[in-house]
């Protein structure tokens, strides 16, 4: 597997503020720090810090547009985490049905 580690992505999503930022960006539009700061009750610096955490985990990306940094949602990492969780769940289903065969036979 190319990226066997879902934990950094889950850890990055595991914060109320970051989840809100992701929620806004997931609507599809690229947003500036100023646009993302509105209504969060945080300073620009605080929001920037959270965005950098999300960027390091690959959940968002940034690009320079004029004088501003615009942030965008990157769905691939989240897709990966979802398929990972699905595979864990499927593996348990398989293991438990083998356990059932063993103890009920």
């Amino acid at each position: 597997m190319l990226n066997p580690d879902p934990v950094p992505v889950l850890a990055a999503l595991g914060d109320a503020t970051r989840l809100q930022l992701v929620s806004r960006l997931a609507a599809g539009e690229s947003l500036s720090i100023a646009e993302l700061t509105g209504g969060l009750g945080l300073t620009r610096q605080g929001v920037t810090k959270h965005l950098r955490v999300l960027e390091r985990a690959g959940v968002v990306s940034s690009s320079r547009v004029g004088r501003e940094n615009k942030f965008s949602f990157e769905p691939d990492k989240v897709d990966f985490v979802c398929s990972y969780l699905q595979s864990v769940s499927d593996q348990w289903d398989g293991a438990l049905s083998r356990l059932q065969n063993l103890v009920e036979s």
């Binding site: 879902p6 997931a26 103890v103």
Partner: protein, 149 residues
Amino acid sequence: MQDSIEKVIDLKAPVSRVWQAITDYKEFGAWFQVDLENPFVVGEVTRGAVTYPGSEGVKWESTTEAIEPERLFSFRWCPYADDNEIDYSKEPTMLVEFRLEPTSTGTRLVVTESGFSKLPDKAMATEALRRNTSGWDIQAGHITAYVES
């Protein structure tokens, strides 16, 4: 806030039989598909190699947390440690718990695997995730379903 996958299965076998099948390392290996080298002992590491088709040879390492006869068996492991070249001993671990209780037909087994994330308050997370309308909605639903279950 829970961050776990939970599975409940009703087994038509007595608790003592199920207990043996999950705590005897050879029997555990048979259904979990892992070739274990040593028994489960509280505080000690059990090593082995996965025999699951497609993952054959992947290293298994678990540390036994609790053995309460016919009630609770638990261990910690790192389930995404699928690269034998990397030292996963410092990585975060998942806690796997097997809880048994007798029923009129046999045994109810509840398996919980927790530690996937530390998502904040459940209601807030769900609210935040529901608000948007893109494909993320569906993905978020998946995550929320898992972490809430």
